[in-house]
C-alpha cells in the first residue's frame, strides 16, 4: 500500500527531525464539543495530506497534516460552515487538496465516466440483441471434410 510507504516516509522524516513518532489525530487536537469534532473529522477525511500519497489529513502522520487539522478546527470554532472551511483550505492550497474532485469543465469526463460506460455498453447490447438473423453456419473446409470422410471410413 502506498499509504504504508508514506507512513514510513513520514515516520522516517519525523525521526530524522527528532520529533518522535506521531499517529494521525492526536488526543490534544480533539475539540471539546463532540458535534464540532464530528464535523471536523468528516471534513478532514475529505482533505488530502499534501506531502503524502493519496492519504487524507485525518489519517496522516505528517506535520503538515496536523497543521491542516488544526486549521480546520480553528475555522469551525470561528463559526465557519463545512463548505466555508473547505473553501478556506482550497483558497490556500488549491484544488489538489480535495479528495473528492469538484464538478467542473475539467472533471466532467471523470464524473461522467460511469454513466458513459453504462450508456456505451447499453448501446452495444441493444445492437447485439436487435440482430435477429443468426449468422450463416460456417462451411467446413475441404480438409475438414476429408478428415470426416476418413474417420467415417474407419468406423
Amino acid at each position: 500500500m502506498s499509504r504504508a510507504g508514506l507512513k514510513s516516509i513520514c515516520l522516517a522524516a519525523c525521526l530524522a527531525a527528532g520529533l518522535g513518532t506521531a499517529a494521525a489525530v492526536q488526543p490534544d487536537e480533539v475539540l471539546k464539543d463532540p458535534a464540532l469534532e464530528h464535523r471536523a473529522r468528516a471534513i478532514s477525511a475529505g482533505l488530502r495530506c499534501l506531502v503524502c500519497q493519496n492519504q487524507s489529513i485525518d489519517d496522516s502522520d505528517a506535520p503538515l497534516a496536523k497543521d491542516l487539522r488544526l486549521i480546520v478546527r480553528e475555522r469551525l470554532k470561528a463559526g465557519d460552515t463545512d463548505q466555508g472551511v473547505e473553501d478556506y483550505v482550497v483558497r490556500r492550497y488549491g484544488e489538489f487538496v480535495l479528495l473528492r474532485p469538484v464538478f467542473g469543465l475539467h472533471t466532467v469526463l471523470l464524473w461522467a465516466s460511469p454513466l458513459l460506460a453504462i450508456l456505451l455498453g447499453g448501446f452495444g447490447i441493444w445492437r447485439l440483441a436487435r440482430r435477429r438473423t443468426p449468422a450463416p453456419e460456417r462451411r467446413l473446409t475441404a480438409s475438414e471434410e476429408a478428415e470426416i470422410a476418413a474417420l467415417l471410413k474407419r468406423e
Binding site: 500500500m1 502506498s2 515516520l11 480533539v30 475529505g46 455498453g121 480438409s143 476429408a146
Partner: protein, 665 residues
Amino acid sequence: MLVETGHFALALALALSLVQAVLPVWAARSGEPALRQATVQAALASFACVLFAFAALTFAHVTSDFSVQNVVENSHTAKPLIYKISGVWGNHEGSMLLWILILTLFGALVAVARNAVPPVLRANTLGVQGFITFVFVLFLVTTSNPFARVSPAPLEGRDLNPLLQDAGLAIHPPLLYVGYVGFSITFAFAVAALIDGRIDAVWARAVRPWTLAAWSFLTLGIAMGSYWAYYELGWGGWWFWDPVENASLMPWIAGTALVHSTVVMEKRDALKVWTVLLAILTFSLSLLGTFIVRSGVLTSVHSFAVDPTRGVFILAILVLFIGGSLTLFAWRAPLLRQGGLFAPISREGSLVLNNLFLVAACATVLVGTLYPLLLEMLTGDKISVGPPFFNATFIPLAVPLLLIVPFGQALAWKRGDVLAAAQRLFTALALALVVGLAALALTWGGPVLAPVGVGLGAYVIVGAALEIVGRARGYGANRARSAGVVARRAFGLPRSAWGTALAHAGVGVAVIGIAAQGWATEALATLKPGGTLASGSYVATLDRVAPRSGPNYEETAAFLTIRDRDGHVIGHLDTGKRFYPSRQMAVTESGLLTVGLSQVYASLGEVQPDGVGLRLYYKPLVLLIWLGAAVMAAGGGLSLTDRRMRVGAPVRAKVKPLPGAVPAE
C-alpha cells in the same frame, strides 16, 4: 557459483522461451506435428530453468550471501528465516522473477494438461505464452538482474523494509501474482484463437478452468492484501482506493466479468467476440497493474523500481502487448463467427447485464485512477481523486449488480420468466427485508445505509441458497415432494452449481461485513497506566507500558485488558511501536482482539512521559469482509473440481496422421 548458475539458467530460459514462441508458427508453416509437440517440451524446460534460477536466488537470501547486490539491499543476518525467504520477492528484481516463475509454471501446466485442450490450440497458446515469457525474462536480465554481484561484499545487509516483514507479505504477492499471471493464460488462449481465426464452445471450455483458477487466487490475494493493510497500517481501514489497490481491483473486476461471459459462451455459444476482448483486457489490466506498481509513476512502498530505463522498458511491454493484441483483435475478430442469439429476459441476458455493470465499474476505477495523471499532463491542473469519488461512483454501480445476482440465477437459459423468477425469489426478498429491518431496529438512531447494506447482503446469500434448493427440487412435473428427495438431489448437483452458489453467498457475506463498518466506533485518548478508554460496547484498561525486543527491532508495547460494559474481562491485547535500527524506521504494530466475527482494534500513538496516545476501534463483523472473499475463492475452487472442468476435447495425438489429409490449420 550457484548464483552464476542461476543467472545462466535465466539466460537459458530466455532462449527456450523464444524457441517456445517460434515452434508453433514453424509447425503451422511446415505441417510437422512433432514440432508442435516440442512446444510442450520447451515450456517444461523453461519452467525448470526459471525454477532453478528462483531457487538459486532463494538460497542466496537464506544463506545471507552478501556478495549478491539483491541480498545486501534486502536482507540482514538477524532477520527471521521466514522473512529471509519472503524477502526474495519483497523487492523489484525478486518479485519480477517470481512473476516469471508463475508465468512459466502456468505454461508448464497447460503443457501437461493433456485432456483439457485440443493440441493445435495448446501449441498456439504455449507459443503466445512463450513470447510473453521471452519479453519479461529479457526485461529482467537486461534491466533488473537479480544476480548482480557486489565487490567487496559488505559484512551486513541493509535489511528488508520493516513494513514488509510480516507474515502477510509472505503470502500476499504470490497469491496476487498467481491471479495476475493466471490471466496471461486466458490472454494466450484468446490470442491463439484470433491467430487461428476460430473460436467455439471447446475454446470456452478449455479456458474456463484457467480463468476460474486465476480469479480465485486473485480474490484471495486482494483479500490478503486488504487484511494486511488493515492490521499493519494501524488506522483500521480495510480499503483505501489507493492506486496500487485499484491496480489489483481492475483485473479482478474484469476477470469476474470474464468468468461469467465464458459461461455464456460455453452454454449458449454467444458473446464470443466479447469474451475474447475481455480476456485481452483482463490481462492488459494486469500488465497495467504491474506498470502502475513498478514504474514509479505513483510512488509507494510497492514501487521497488524507480529507474527510468525500467519504466521505459515496461511502457514498451505495455504498448507491445496491449496495443499488439488489440490490433490483432481489430484485424481478426471479424473473422470469428458470431453465434448464439440471446433474449433479454434469460439467464444469458442477466449475465450480459452483469458484464455491463462490471465493465462500467472497472472503467470508472480506471478513469478515476488515471485521470489526475492525464489531466496534469494535458492541462497542468492538479486534482486529487480519492475515496469520496470512488465511493460515490462505484457503489451505485455495485448495488444493481448485487440485485441481479440471485435474479439471474433464478432465470432459465434461453427464455426466462421474470414473474416466475420474482416468485422464486420472494423468500429471499422477504428475508432480506426482515434482516434489514431487524438491523435497523437494533441500531435505531445509527446510520441508515448500514442496515440497507446488511439486508442486501442477506438477499444475495439467501438467493444463492434458493438457487440450490430450486435446482434440487426441480420444476414442473419433475418437482420433488419430500425433503429427503430434495436433499438427495441437492447432493447430486454438479459441483460447479455448488461452487457458483458458494461464490455468490461469499459476495453476500462480504457485503454484510462492509456494510457493518457503518457501525464501527473509534475512541482516542492519552492514557496513563490504569486509565480506561471506551469504544462501542468495550472498555480498554491500560495495564502497563513496557519495552520489548525482537530479533531485529526494539519495541515499546502497551498492554491492555478489554472488558465489556459490565466489567467482565473479554481478553487481553497488546499494541506497540517497533523501531528497526538497521533501517532507522519505526512501525506501529496494532493489537487485535477477535470477539466472534467482530474485532477490538488498538493502536499505539505517541509515547510521552505523561502517558501514551491510544486509539481504540470497535469493528463489528469486520472479519466477514475477508471471510466473504475466502468463501468466494472457495466457490471458485469447488467449481474447479467439477468433472466438466476436467473432461475436454478428445486427444488427437493418439490418432495416426491421416494419409493424404492436409492439417486443418
